[in-house]
Symmetry: C2
Subunit: 159 residues, 2 copies
């Protein structure tokens, strides 16, 4: 049966997760800062690459973000020529989002930064340990109903 340190151990894991998560997010933000991107921008870029032609409303629903926030993020990316708003002839209310070639190019650099970031973050582990960690984290993520590839940071804060 479980011993008396279980509660403590679980709490320690939870704190380590919060601590390392914040650290990982901050380090990643540093990595893409030279690209003049925030993590929020990078997430939009990635999602538009995965679902070309999606609407901003769909994006907001997927991310759990406010539509008005998506507007400003897409504004930034469009102004820099990384993303396109195309009118959809079938439903002229919505804007179909597409990456430009510059956007695709920059996303490649974001991916490279993410891999470099991941390698640096996990450099203390050997490949087997890293796979083991990935599996354990995947278990928790699935159990907690986290959507793969969706960072909760977009979600509006409840009060």
């Amino acid at each position: 049966m479980a011993d008396s340190t279980d509660g403590h151990s679980a709490a320690a894991v939870a704190f380590l997760l919060a601590q390392l998560g914040e650290h990982a997010a901050a380090k990643f933000a540093e990595r893409i800062h030279p690209l003049q991107l925030t993590p929020a921008h990078a997430g939009i870029l990635r999602l538009v690459a995965v679902q070309p032609g999606c609407s901003q409303q769909a994006l907001a629903r997927t991310l759990g973000a406010l539509p008005s926030k998506v507007v400003t993020l897409v504004d930034d990316l469009q102004q820099r020529g990384l993303i396109e708003r195309r009118r959809n002839p079938d439903d002229r209310r919505l804007h179909a989002l597409h990456l430009t070639t510059a956007g695709t190019e920059l996303l490649r650099k974001v991916r490279a930064a993410a891999e470099s970031h991941g390698a640096d973050l996990t450099r203390a582990l050997d490949p087997q340990q890293r796979d083991n960690l990935a599996a354990l984290l995947g278990c928790i993520a699935a159990d907690q109903h986290l959507h793969p590839g969706i960072h909760p940071g977009y979600q509006r804060l409840r009060r």
Copy 2:
């Protein structure tokens, strides 16, 4: 030698960490919300319990937070009778911080909430997996020079 999926796998771990970290932090904030505390308040409470009589400046240095932010947090806690500012006769510039009995009482509830939160977060793992996860996370935390028990969320954002 490492195969070509290494970079991808490491990036996936980094993203999972950021994702789960944000999730864990949000869930913990929900847990202590009924106690009218934010995670930042709870951290101050815990640190004052560990280092009774510490000054606010020392607190700010330990947390990497702005002194002015510590002031407002301590203000809140003092106003609720959870913490005391005692004048130090030896150096009357600084305020020695101490928990009141109500503060100690509330910290107990915070700890209970943290354990309950940890148990819920890691319920998908058996005890052995949980210990394994704790060890792996501890490796990374040590390698990345994270201070035990200090959440990076206090640190002022660089720009």
